[in-house]
Structure formats: C-alpha cells, structure tokens
C-alpha cells in the first residue's frame, strides 16, 4: 500500500502537531530560514515549483509555478497573497485538517509565496464554520511572529511578510477566488468578471495571487526535499501527493494523502471498501461540482488530473463521493441541487434563475409531480446555464445534472413515469430510497 501523509499531513500523527515546536522538530521553517538567509533568487524558487509539477489543488489544477510567474515582481504597487481556505465544495474536507493540525506549514508556504511575488501582506481566508481552525491558525501565527519568523523584518533580514487570518461568513461562492477578493474588500461575495485577472488587478485593484491551502502547504516540503523528490511521488503529468476525501457509502470514510496517480481501487480499499459488501454504483471524483462516473469507468482509473479527465470528469478538489447500488440517482441529484439553489450568489441571470428551476424540476420528479417531458427539460435547462455565467458556478450546476442524466437516464425516466417511485427500490434488493436519498443516515444503515 502507498505511503500516506508525506507532504501536507506530514507529522500530524503527533498530538501537538500544530505547535511551533512540533513543526520545527520535523524540519519546519527550514526552507523559509534558508530563503531568508541566502536571499534566494525569486525566479529560482519559481523554477523549482514549476519543476515539481505542483498544480493548484483547489479544483482547477493550474500550474502553481506558472501562476506565480504572472505577477511582475518589479511592479511598484502593493501586492497581495490570498490563501483560499474556504473549502466549501461538498465532499471535501482536506484543508480543514491542514489548518487545524499543520497550520505552520501553511504559514511557511504562504511566507515563501509572498516572498516570491514580492507581497508584504497575505490573507488566509477561512470559511465561517472553521472556528477551531481559525484559532489554531491565530495561535500559530502569533507564535511564528514571536519567533521572528513572520511579520515585519523576518529574522532581521528586512523581509516583511504580514499574514492575517480571516474568518468568512459561511458562503459557498466565496471560495471562488474573485468573490473572495470582494469579500475581503468588505463587499458581497460575488465573483468578478475576468479579465482582468487577479494577477493584474486583484485585491483592491492590486496584483494578487490566490492559492489553495493544500497548494501552499505543499511548498515548504518541495523546497526542503527538492522538486525531483516531489515530482517522482506522482505521475509524469501530475507531481506530488494529493489529499482525497473519501466519503459516502464506504466502510471507513476518511482523508488520505496519497501519491498522485494512485489506483482508484486502492483508494477505495483504504477507505474500507463499499459499505456492507454492496456493489459500487457510481463515483463523483472531485466534489459535487464535477461530473459523475459510473462504476465501470472507475475500475482501472488512476487518481490524477489526466486519467480522470480521460474518463470524462475531473480531479477537482479531491472530494471522492462513493455511491453504492442502493442510491437513487434522482434523489441524490435533487439533494445536491438544493445546495446549489441555496448557494448561487444571484448575480448573473442563468445561475440565479436556473439553479432554482433545476431544483424545482427535480423536486417535482421526486414528489411525483413532474410532467412527462421533465427529463428533457431538466437537461436543456442545465445546458442553457453552462458557459453563460461569470464564474464556474454555472458549470457546477450544469455538469452534475447532465452527467447524472447521461449516465443514469433510465432512473430519471422511471421516476417521471412512475409518479416519484424510485427505480432502485424496484430493481435493487434491499434498497430503501428515502426522501433525502443517498446521504441520509437511515438509508446508509439500511439493508
């Protein structure tokens, strides 16, 4: 079995892993100290990150080194770094553990990134529910400042990196990077139209880099152990490790930091396999915004950006949702869409109106009130949203709907034709599809 917890979760088995002493005991802040002492050339660090093959872990998978190189270091304007710790994607719970168990590594990563881009101010934006995590980060920040590692004039070298922990107010869309900038500026969290991109005009109109927590927390280890070490952990196209949050119908749901490109079957095994020996029905590999994959597509799938894309979905945030054969796909989708209907920011028309419409059609299906052409309509409405919104929320509504219908069309047709009666109940032994479908405890424990 692959080695666990080599990068972002390194050292978290210790009870006091979040303290400065514990972090420094495993070599923490050595990369940052080295940079400060040697005044390492910024381009050199960018080259290392590029060579490591590190890609954005928030969902889009954009090359981190390349992103860092977009900010002009000689620009006299104030530059900002923002760490996206909002982690709102349903099925994802990886950053919370970094924030609560390994906050120093994140702070070190932020400091390095801020140094590279020439930012003197950095914000760590956490979602409103992350209260313990916020406290741990605040403690870590204060300790690091007291130790002279962060803040003004780090270790007497004249380098300023001021980091601020920010607690949001609990909205999904604030995890979209430009919405996060709006929120930081004290406005409603509504995504901005791009261009201009944040690297040119971000927070308060200044050059800004926004990286995911996992991305930034990987940086110190890459610099400590070298780009090559990191790259060889993963596959050719996707370097390093990736944290997967395996949830749903498995025996031991959990968070696993494993080398990129691990076989899906191995990951499933780590999570104890499908619950109670049932058959695997479907997998959402990267949080609910990504397309669903039927079980047969996942058999030989490797968990990296390229292979999942080949199967027709995406690695996304690494929230792997497992569904067994007792899951009613219509109810599962209905439940997911309730979330999106609630969380649309309301700014642009297709998403604001479409999210509600999609949810209403699905509710009608589940309650048996749907019209005969409802499946067709649901599909077209979802298609009408896709690609027509300011941010990727439009796709986050559209992709699940279209992929659920494409993959499990007969279930949708069945529920419409049978006034809300679920296909699984009639076809699968021991399946009790209830009102809230696959996620509900009573359903999970059934059979």
């Amino acid at each position: 079995m692959s080695q666990l917890n080599q990068v972002c979760y390194r050292g978290i088995e210790r009870e006091d892993s979040y303290t400065l002493a514990a972090y420094q005991a495993i070599g923490g802040y050595s990369a940052w100290r080295k940079i400060l002492e040697e005044k390492t050339d910024r381009n050199q660090i960018i080259e290392v990150i590029k060579a490591s093959g590190l890609k954005g872990r928030g969902g889009a998978g954009f090359s981190t080194g390349l992103k860092w190189s977009f900010v002009d270091k000689n620009n006299p304007k104030q530059k900002f770094l923002v760490c996206n710790s909002d982690e709102g994607e349903p099925g994802t719970c990886k950053d919370t553990l970094i924030l609560s168990k390994n906050p120093h590594q994140l702070l070190e990563g932020m400091a390095i990134c801020a140094y590279v881009m020439g930012a003197t101010k950095a914000y760590n934006y956490m979602r409103g529910e992350f209260f313990l995590q916020y406290q741990r980060c605040e403690q870590a920040l204060n300790d690091a400042i007291s130790a002279g590692l962060l803040g003004k004039n780090c270790l007497g070298t004249g380098v300023d990196v001021e980091i601020f922990n920010i607690l949001g107010a609990g909205s999904y869309i604030v995890g979209e990077e430009t919405a996060m900038l709006e929120s930081l500026e004290g406005k409603r969290a509504q995504p901005r139209y791009k261009p201009p991109f944040p690297a040119v005009s971000g927070l308060y109109g200044m050059p800004t880099i926004i990286n995911n927590t996992e991305t930034l927390a990987s940086v110190p280890v890459i610099l400590e152990k070298g780009a090559e070490w990191f790259a060889q952990l993963g596959t050719k196209g996707s370097g390093g490790t990736k944290i997967f949050c395996v949830s749903g119908h498995v025996n031991q749901p959990g968070v696993f930091e494993v080398p990129m490109g691990i076989a899906f079957s191995e990951l499933l095994e780590m999570a104890g396999g499908v619950r109670k020996g049932r058959k695997l029905k479907a997998v959402i590999p990267g949080g609910t915004s990504m397309r669903i994959l039927s079980a047969n597509k996942t058999l030989s799938m490797r968990m990296d950006y390229e292979d999942i894309a080949k199967m027709g979905s995406a690695l996304g945030s690494g929230g792997v949702i497992i569904m067994d054969d007792s899951t009613c796909m219509v109810q599962a989708l209905c439940h997911m869409m309730r979330f999106y209907e609630e969380e649309s920011c309301g700014q642009c028309t297709p998403c604001r109106e479409g999210s509600g419409w999609v949810y209403k059609i699905l509710k009608d299906m589940v309650s048996g009130k749907a019209r005969p052409d409802a499946v067709e309509q649901l599909y077209t409405v979802a298609k009408k949203i896709e690609g027509r919104t300011i941010c990727a929320f439009g796709e986050a509504i559209s992709w699940p709907v279209t992929s659920f219908i494409d993959t499990f069309r007969e279930e949708f047709d069945y529920i419409v034709a049978n006034q809300g009666k679920s296909w699984v109940e009639s076809q699968v032994a021991g399946a009790h599809a209830r009102a809230f479908g696959w996620h509900a405890k009573d359903n999970r424990d059934a059979s």
Partner: protein, 758 residues
C-alpha cells in the same frame, strides 16, 4: 503621437475603434444593436445580466459584449447561432420568475424586458412551477415599487453608489432569494432618486406620482427646460390629449440628454415639479371688490390694471419679478416698468446689491471645467441641495481626485468627500484674506489678517446661496474675483432662480431702474402700487409683518400662475399667467448657455402667456413700441444677448465694510422645495420633507440663556414652537432650520430671536 486605431468586425461590418472600448460601445456607436439590461453607458460594467452575450471568433464560449474589450482583428457575431442561443436562454431565465403582468404595469410600452422579449422570448412558457414573489418596500413619495418584477440588473444600486453617492439601495439575500431593497427600510432620500425610475429596465421602480396615469405611446413629447435652478436641465415633457374636449394634460417630465448641462440625469425637483401644473391655478382674471373676489373679463382686468398703473407718479411703484421667468417675459415686464417708472427687482435673496451690474449673472465656465477641477473651494454653497446636477459634477471631480473644501456656517451632509471649514459668516471675509495672504495675493488698501485656512492653490471657486444672502456679498465676490484674476482659476457664482443671467442682460440693455437695496428694506417705504410677477412675497423674499401691511395698503397687481392663501388677502387684481410648461421662451443659464424652448401645452383656463399680457397692457397705456410686437420672435429680435460675449465679474471693493454684529443669525437658505410657486405646489416634492428641526450649538444656547431643550418659541413676526437639535457642527451664534421650514421662509441671514418655551 497618433492614437492607436483597432479594426474589428461586428456582424460582417468592418469598424474602427479605440483600444479599451468594449464591444457594446463600438456596436452602439455604429448603430448595431446588442440586447442588454445591466449595461448602462453612465454606470460601471458588471456583466451580470448576460443578455449581451455574443460570439467572438476563437473564444471557447459566448462573451458578454459589455465587458469584453475589443482587440485588433476581433470578429464578433451578435446574431450567430451561438449568440442567439445564449441570448434566448438568458431571456427565458429572466422571464420565468417575472410576473408578466404587462397589462397592469406602468412600464408597459416602454419596458426594455417587454421590448426584448419580442425578439428573444418564446410565445409560451415552459416553466410551470410557482413564481417568485417579493414584498414591496415604501421608498417614499416619489418612487413606486413592485419588486416582484425586478430582474436584478442592479442599475439602481450602481446609480446610488456611483453617481448619486447615496448608496441607499442594495441587494439582500442570495441566488433566487436575492432582493433589491434599502435594508434599513427608511426609504430613499437622494435628491436625484428619480433617475432610478429611468434606469430600471422593468416596472420594478416606477414613478409614484405618475402611477396609473397613462400609457407612454399616447404621449406627445416636447423639449423644454427646467426652471428651478440656475443650471436649467434639459427636459422632455410628455403631454396627452384627453378624449374629453381635446384638452391637453401634462403627464410627466423626463430628462433630455445634454452634454453641457445635465448629462442623462435630472434632479427630483425638476422631474416632479410638473405635478403642480393643475394645482391651485388662477384660471380667470379676478378683481377684489370690497373684500370679495369677483371674476372679470380680460378686457376689464387689463383696463383696470392700466388705469391704476398710469395714475402712478414716477418712482412710486414697484415691480417684483421672479428670477425664473423667461427672458422674453422679463424683457416685456421691464420695458413696461421703464415706461411707468417702476423700480424693479428680481433678486429675491441678495442682501447686498452694491455690485448689482458688475456681473450679468454669467460665469465663464463649463460643466466640463467643473468636472476637471483639481482643487475646489465652495463658499456658502451646498449644491447637493440647491443645484443637484452641479452636486453630481462636483462629486465626479472629487472621485477623479479633486480636493474639495467648503467654507460654511454649518456642517453639510454631502455625497462626496470634502473638508468643511465651519465659521460664522461674519468671519468669511477674514478667511478669504488669509487665504490670499498665504498665496501672496495682495489687495490694494486692504489689510491682511492672521488666520489659517490651508486651501492651497485653488483652481475653482464656487460661491453659493450663503454668499448671495451675505450682507458682505459684494466684498466676497470682489475678493474672490480678484484672486481668480491673479491665479487664472475658474469662478462660478451661483445665482437664484433659473434665469437671473437672462434677466440681468436685458435689464442692462433696457437700462432698468434696478433696486439698489435689498427688497426687504425697499418694500417698507411708501409705495402706491406693487406689481408682482410670478412671485409670492411671503415665500419668495425675506418677509415680515411690515411688508405684509405695506402690501395690504398698496394696490397689488399680481400676474401669476398660482394662487397663494395670503395673496387672496393682499392682492387687488390678479391676471392668470401660463405656467412654465405652457410658456415658450429663452433662458440663459449661469454658464451662459442660451436656450430656447417651446410651450409643451396650451395654457390652462383663461391664462395667457405673460408676454402677450404685457404687450396689451403696454398698448393700453399708449406705448407705441408695444404695438409692433406681434410674436415671440419679435421680442427675441429686440433683445440683444450680446452682453454675453464679455460676461464676467468686474467689481472691485476699495474698502471693507465692517460685518454687522448680531446676536443670533439665521443661516438657513431658502428651502429647495420652496424655491418657486411651481415647486411649492408639487405635492410629492412637498412630502419629501422631514419634520422641522432647529440646529443650534450648545454654547449659543447657553449664551442666550435658554434651558428648555425640547421646544422653544421663535419670535419672528409670528410665534412658532420648534424642536431643538443641539449640534456640534454649527458655528456659534448661528441657527439653522432643517426639514420642513417653508413656513419660516422670511428670515434668511437675518437676525432672529429665540426664547424659552412655555
């Protein structure tokens, strides 16, 4: 360096454009229509309605034309399959929750959603679930709401935030639950709030006074001008011929775009004053016989007026003229006044007339200069209240980086950032002198003083109502104009009414015997006959008991559109005059724009355009030159507006008069919603006023030995009880009315008495 020119192709047309322009701007310039809701040329771009999605070659998906900058060689298709599909999808989404209640919606017929749904919507809805419903909010007496119709374009929100500077509306809630509202539920207070009605593409925000009054397609549209401030905004006046008796009705007023005055905006006062047009109008000539008003014919009325006026000996009568009448009207009235030897006054507020003819009321400045200014000093001026369109321009200058400073007697609530120097008016001259000293500007024969103002190098001076009413007004005007000459700065002297400039010019041409003392003092002396044209002294001039008794004693001829309660007591003969909207004429604004307009509708009842009345009166008095005038154009040929070419201010004080020492000075300017009879009769505007309060400082109260904080009796000819508002940002020795103080009109910059309440 030549400017870079890009070439793009939209719908097959090759067009040249500038870098930085958006696709929609280029399309609009070239007459290619791209549908839109959230985009407005005067507001920021949010790209949120998605109606303007177009296909751009080599782009992976349809792009919003409003937010996509053009690039050289870009090929844009606004009507391709991809574009049409996207636009139709957006239209469908917009319509699913829209109530589609067009038949009972005031916006019906001029609704952007309705119009575009004809081209992009389906005839049948495929949405069969229940629609969203939103609770309405009371936004005050001007804006009617039906928020269920809202399509969340946020134009109103952006207007408040970006243009008006009063961010009162905002979005509350997320997704389909998002609602536009004030959150605080206190209504909308902005002085330019009516523009949100124009901006709203649907019937969510409509005009309350116009609610259910008519359908736009039946209206005639007439270009006109507003008459409530010295800028003269351009209007589009809508009228309708009613079925009964083919009578015309004034339906509503909208802004007419003009680059050099109001842009696309209009103040609420200019927009809603039309509601007064049929209120309390004088419809027939009336004569007071032994205390009773009787209707008389025009013939009788004019003969009587001529007889009374011709009996006057030279210098025994007076003409009090509103500064908001058209130049033609003013020309005729003053011509008559010259013949009859009447003393004339059209400066209602001016306290100090020493420099009466040194300026013709025209400042050599444009709106563009105001917006471009870098360091603005405003003395006794609050444009947000008194000239809202100028206020928007100052705000625009400030947003562009200008420093704005106010010299004022009490703290102003502004919609832009400014530093306010709060000082008693009698100290204003001193502040000017110290500024001059800091800038090394010397005045002959005037000693410098030692105070600090720190205004730096000023490039625009604005003198407002505070200077107009100031007893040392001519000193302030003179000092500032000398500094302007020395530094090359710009000067804007705001005037009262809408046409002080035009009237000053013709008064100079006619060599009118203009009153050289404030009217308050003048009217007190014995006067046989008083002729009031479009004025109600009890509201329009600093008024008191003495004036009232003088008016009652004299023979008062009132040529006016509106009655007032007191007019019924003091007037002896009233002649009905066409209202502003029923009048053709010419106005000259404070920046020297000469603008003519045509009457929008026929005069109500038996009222007649004033120039015609004056012409007949002149003929009856045997003045031959009046018989030659046959049409308005004849007057226009007679008046020479040539003075304009050397407009400006050229008065120099040689010595400063000492400031009057008064114990308590009333610094309230004439109420903006009481500026003329038309506005005073516009009910929706009158309803925007808050309760009357009196602002006064703690120290002032102590020095006056007043202890009662709640109610105080105000002695000013009459007794009134008022609420006290103890303020920190008002100069000691000053008192200011806020809210509804129409009734207390008669005491601007006058000494006032205050006593303990009962």
């Amino acid at each position: 360096m030549t400017e870079q020119v890009l070439t793009v192709k939209i719908d097959g047309k090759t067009l040249s454009c500038k870098p930085g322009q958006s696709i929609i701007e280029v399309a609009d310039q070239n007459g290619i229509f791209i549908p839109r809701f959230c985009y407005h040329k005067s507001l920021s771009v949010v790209a949120s309605c998605r109606m303007c999605l177009v296909e751009v070659e080599r782009a992976p998906k349809a792009l919003p034309a409003c937010a996509t900058p053009v690039a050289d060689g870009m090929v844009i298709k606004s009507q391709s399959k991809i574009a049409r599909q996207a636009q139709k999808a957006v239209m469908e989404f917009l319509l699913i929750n829209h109530p589609l209640d067009c038949p009972i919606c005031d916006q019906g017929g001029e609704c952007e959603l309705q119009d575009l749904s004809m081209g992009y919507g389906q005839s049948e809805s495929s949405f069969y679930q229940s629609k969203r419903a939103v609770k309405d909010e009371d936004l005050g007496p001007l804006i009617a709401t039906n928020m269920t119709r809202c399509i969340h374009c946020t134009r109103c929100v952006r207007f408040g935030r970006e243009i008006a500077g009063t961010p009162e509306l905002g979005a509350v809630g997320r997704g389909g639950h998002m609602e536009i509202g004030t959150f605080l539920k206190q209504g909308v207070q902005s002085e330019v709030s009516g523009n949100m009605i124009d901006l709203c593409p649907v019937g969510a925000l409509t005009s309350k006074p116009f609610k259910y009054q008519g359908r736009s397609w039946g209206f005639g549209s007439h270009s006109h001008m507003s008459a409530h401030d010295c800028l003269g905004s351009h209007l589009s006046v809508h009228t309708q011929v009613t079925n009964v008796g083919k009578e015309q009705r004034l339906m509503r007023v909208l802004p007419k775009e003009s680059h050099h005055v109001n842009g696309t905006w209009l103040s609420d006062r200019d927009r809603f004053s039309y509601t007064a047009n049929e209120q309390n109008r004088i419809l027939k000539p009336m004569f007071k016989k032994q205390g009773n008003w009787i209707e008389v014919s025009w013939q009788e009325a004019l003969t009587l007026a001529a007889k009374k006026l011709s009996e006057l000996k030279m210098g025994q009568g007076q003409l009090l003229l509103s500064p908001s009448v058209s130049t033609e009207e003013g020309y005729m009235a003053m011509k008559l006044a010259v013949h009859l030897g009447l003393e004339t006054c059209f400066s209602m507020l001016k306290q100090d007339l020493k420099d009466q003819f040194s300026g013709v009321g025209v400042s050599q400045i444009t709106m563009h200069d105001v917006k471009q200014a870098k360091n603005i000093v405003m003395i006794g001026s609050n444009p947000k209240v008194h000239q809202p369109i100028l206020g928007l321009a100052i705000r625009q200058a400030q947003l562009a980086g200008a420093k704005v400073e106010h010299l004022t007697a009490s703290g102003l609530t502004l919609n832009y950032q400014a530093t306010q120097l709060i000082a008693h008016p009698r100290l204003w001259v001193n502040h000017l002198l110290s500024h001059a000293q800091s800038q090394n500007i010397a005045f002959e024969g005037i000693k410098s003083v030692n105070t600090e103002v720190g205004w730096g190098q000023v490039d625009l001076w604005v003198l407002g109502e505070g200077v107009l009413m100031h007893p040392q007004g001519s000193e302030i005007r003179s000092l500032v104009s000398q500094m302007v000459q020395a530094t090359g700065a710009k000067l804007l002297i705001l005037t009262e009414g809408s046409n002080t400039a035009g009237l000053s010019i013709v008064a100079k041409e006619l060599d009118v015997n203009l009153s050289d003392r404030p009217y308050l003092q003048k009217i007190g002396i014995h006067s046989e006959a008083i002729w009031l044209h479009q004025t109600h002294p009890e509201f329009d001039i600093p008024f008191n008991e003495t004036i009232y008794h003088q008016l009652k004693k004299s023979f008062v001829v009132a040529t006016s559109s509106f009655w007032s309660d007191q007019m019924k007591e003091y007037a002896d003969l009233v002649l009905p005059i066409a209202s502003h909207y029923e009048t053709s004429g010419t106005q000259v604004n404070v920046m020297g724009h000469v603008q003519s307009y045509q009457a929008a509708l026929m005069p109500l009842g038996e009222s007649r355009p004033a120039w015609k009345v004056f012409k007949v009166l002149g003929q009856l008095l045997g003045k031959t030159d009046f018989s030659e005038i046959e049409a308005l154009s004849d007057i226009q040929q007679l008046m020479k507006l040539s003075v304009l070419s050397h407009a400006g201010y050229d008065y120099k004080v040689d010595q400063l008069r000492p400031a009057n020492q008064v114990s308590l000075l009333n610094i309230s300017a004439k109420h903006p919603m009481a500026c003329d009879a038309q506005v005073r009769h516009a009910e929706p505007l009158q309803n925007t006023m808050d309760q009357l309060r009196v602002r006064i400082s703690e120290q002032t109260l102590q020095s006056l030995d007043i202890h009662s904080r709640k109610t105080v009796v105000l002695f000013s000819g009459a007794f009134s009880e008022v609420l006290l508002d103890i303020s920190h940002d008002i100069a000691d020795g000053c008192i200011e009315f806020v809210g509804d103080y129409r009734e207390l009109a008669g005491s601007w910059l006058q000494e006032i008495e205050l006593g303990n309440g009962a």
